[in-house]
């Protein structure tokens, strides 16, 4: 099983005729079991075809014609907030926004709109998610993943690939890998993902990759202690980051003494969640709490 997406997901790519949108739509089409890519949207290019699927002028047209229920957004930052509203208004239940650089104040209202509509937003500024062997929505490279039972949730892109790659190389597959995004306001947080992992009978353990800025990790630590029974291990990026400097991600900033790696590490440690000192320690740490990881390490 998997969380948020599966082999039945019907994906529409907003911005499918763009360079990145087109490339990744092709990758999504080829990935998984179920021909998940059903449509693309680019205003003014309705009636055309891209990577073998029909292109529509509006998300509503795409939904009406194909039954799309999941959207993946690649449109430029100035139009991406509008794309989120459009997808949700057309009845899309899962909106994954890959685009980086959305004005944060626009996201405040959009966040509430999505919540009130009962839809789920992942991102913005994220790599999306993948359920190995079933479906992927976004840009995570499929070839590094493998079907399995470890859930991965992260604020990062390539650091997630690094960790997923280590899991796969050690023979540990993943149920779902989710990049929630590096912005200060994202639609889905660690707790949402942990809740889904906990509820998914096929997810037996989880890896959480946090970074400096905000307090989502601290809240996640509290949540794990209270509500999560599957083993969880973590890593926090940015302990060497100087305060007051935005480290690439708009959300990765220590300001006013808040959002430090130390604070997050302390919260996880207090909640009984081991924190890896370096990414390559994650699998060995997981092995201490999760027998299949131990067995996998011994076999490798």
């Amino acid at each position: 099983m998997s969380v948020f997406i599966n082999q039945h997901s019907k994906i529409v790519v907003q911005g499918i005729t763009g360079r990145d949108g087109g490339f990744h739509a092709g990758q999504m089409k080829e990935y998984g079991a179920g021909n998940n890519l059903v449509a693309g949207v680019t205003p003014g290019k309705g009636g055309q075809e891209a990577v073998g699927v029909p292109v529509f002028n509006t998300v509503q047209d795409a939904v009406d014609a194909t039954g799309a229920d999941t959207s993946c957004i690649f449109v430029p930052p100035a139009f991406a907030v509008d794309a989120i509203y459009e997808a949700v208004s057309a009845g899309i239940k899962l909106v994954v926004c890959i685009t980086e650089g959305l004005p944060v104040n626009d996201m405040m209202a959009a966040y509430t709109f999505v919540k009130d509509s009962g839809a789920r937003l992942i991102g913005p500024n994220c790599p999306g998610l993948i359920s190995p062997g079933q479906s992927k929505v976004g840009i995570l490279p499929g070839h590094i993943c493998r079907e399995g039972k470890v859930g991965v949730v992260s604020r990062s892109g390539t650091l997630t690939y690094e960790v997923v790659d280590q899991l796969t190389r050690n023979g540990l597959g993943q149920s779902t890998c989710i990049g929630i995004g590096g912005d200060p306001i994202v639609g889905t947080n660690f707790i949402d993902c942990l809740e889904a992992f906990e509820a998914d009978p096929e997810t037996e353990a989880a890896i959480l990759i946090g970074e400096i800025g905000g307090d989502d990790e601290e809240k996640a630590a509290e949540y794990i202690q209270e509500k999560v029974s599957i083993p969880v291990v973590s890593f926090i990026a940015g302990r060497t980051a100087p305060p007051g400097k935005r480290m690439g991600h708009a959300g990765a900033i220590v300001s006013g003494g808040k959002g430090t790696a130390e604070s997050k590490e302390a919260a996880f440690t207090a909640a009984g969640v081991p924190v890896a000192k370096k990414p390559s320690d994650l699998v060995p740490l997981l092995a201490e709490k999760y027998a299949p990881a131990k067995a996998a390490l011994e076999n490798n």
């Binding site: 990744h24 100035a78 004005p103 104040n105 405040m108 590096g182 306001i185 302990r239 959300g251 006013g256």
Partner: protein
């Protein structure tokens, strides 16, 4: 992006919020002339993007124009926390009897603009929050409807029962919200917001930070950027689509992705070294970006080795390899370069680098250790 006090005050004044009469000066003579025009005691205030200007000696009272000139002479050129003062704001001094803090931030927890108000003004609000949290009142606003009059009145009455201050504060809070939304701010604050002996309210200081993501549609605010207050390399990197932060170590890092770039820096420190920088070359790689990145890093004389840590997703390893070859051709690279390429088109990328003087490695741990060894060992 940060906006100077005097620039933020312009935005306040346009919306009818009272700030003491003042002008910005870049020379002591200008400061003297402004003080003569104001014809009263003035405060000479350094315009730099750091907190604690007062404590650092960057804010001085002057009783007449001659003294204003003298104080401006002392403050202009002064170094405050690594920044040189290029401008001072010369502003009429007001006789303060009460000080308040009022601010508005983009609150990550509530995902809304949140007012923060305190009767403990003039101090570091973080210290107030830590020591006497009961003295801070907050209000998160639903951005879909905007701020309502009763909300700011209620907030003001929580802070004080003085009708003069309530009236002034309601106006100031309303203007703050207006400026916040109009400029795509991430933080705006008036500290202190004051009541004077004459029973008037004034916004005597202003701080305004703008969301970089929104600068494309904030032409006027973008023009307020003070290039002299920015790190030249960081600005150059930004223009090239790179994200760069200078640090003090000797291992230059070029990485794709912010999370992996932070993790790489951390790993350098874990193995006993210090990173020279944070550098994220971003998603879609083009070889010219790699050249630019190398160029910026090589300018730092401390750099003794460079580590490339690339996990190809959108970024293609062969593109990075092409950029690396181009960079080593174009630039006079005297320091060793360690290259870790993995992911999309890794084989192709590695093939391209065969027979060069670059040091290929397979894992991140190996890469960092190799770079440290070549940089002359852990520090």
């Amino acid at each position: 992006m940060k906006v100077h006090e005097y620039q933020a005050k312009e935005l306040f004044v346009e919306r009818g919020l009272a700030v003491p009469d003042g002008e910005v000066a870049t020379t002591p003579e200008e400061a003297e002339a402004i003080a003569s025009r104001i014809g009263d005691q003035v405060v000479v205030k350094a315009q730099v993007h750091v907190g604690g200007r007062g404590k650092a000696g960057g804010v001085k009272l002057a009783k007449d124009p001659a003294e204003a000139k003298e104080k401006a002479t002392a403050i202009l050129g002064m170094d405050i926390k690594g920044l040189t003062v290029e401008k001072v704001l010369v502003t009429r001094a007001v006789d303060i009897v009460e000080e308040y803090y009022i601010g508005l931030i983009m609150d990550r927890a509530s995902k809304r603009p949140m007012f923060i108000v305190s009767a403990e003004g003039g101090m570091d609000i973080e210290a107030v929050a830590a020591e006497t949290p009961e003295k801070i009142h907050t209000l998160a606003v639903d951005p879909r409807y905007g701020v309502q009059g009763w909300q700011v009145r209620q907030l003001a009455f929580k802070t004080t029962s003085d009708p003069v201050v309530v009236k002034g504060m309601v106006k100031a809070l309303t203007v703050l919200y207006d400026v916040f939304m109009a400029t795509d701010a991430s933080l705006i604050e008036i500290n202190p917001f004051v009541k004077t002996k004459d029973g008037e309210c004034w916004s005597v200081d202003a701080k305004l930070n703008i969301d970089d993501n929104a600068l494309y549609r904030q032409k006027r605010v973008a023009e307020m950027r003070d290039m002299s207050a920015e790190d030249a390399s960081e600005m150059e990197a930004k223009e090239a689509g790179l994200s760069f932060v200078k640090l003090d170590g000797n291992v230059g890092c070029i990485v794709n992705g912010a999370g992996l770039a932070m993790a790489t820096m951390d790993l350098v420190q874990f193995f006993g070294g210090m990173p020279a920088n944070f550098l994220d070359i971003g998603g879609s790689s083009n070889p010219d970006k790699v050249v630019k990145a190398m160029n910026i890093i090589l300018r730092d004389q401390n750099v003794k080795a460079i580590l490339f840590n690339i996990f190809g997703g959108i970024t293609r390893c062969d593109d990075v390899a092409a950029g690396l070859l181009k960079a080593t051709e174009q630039l006079d690279v005297k320091v060793p370069i360690v290259v870790r390429l993995t992911g999309t088109n890794e084989e192709k990328g590695r093939e391209m680098l065969e027979g060069t003087s670059l040091h290929p490695v397979v894992t991140m741990d190996e890469g960092v250790q190799k770079a440290l060894e070549l940089a002359g060992g852990a520090q």
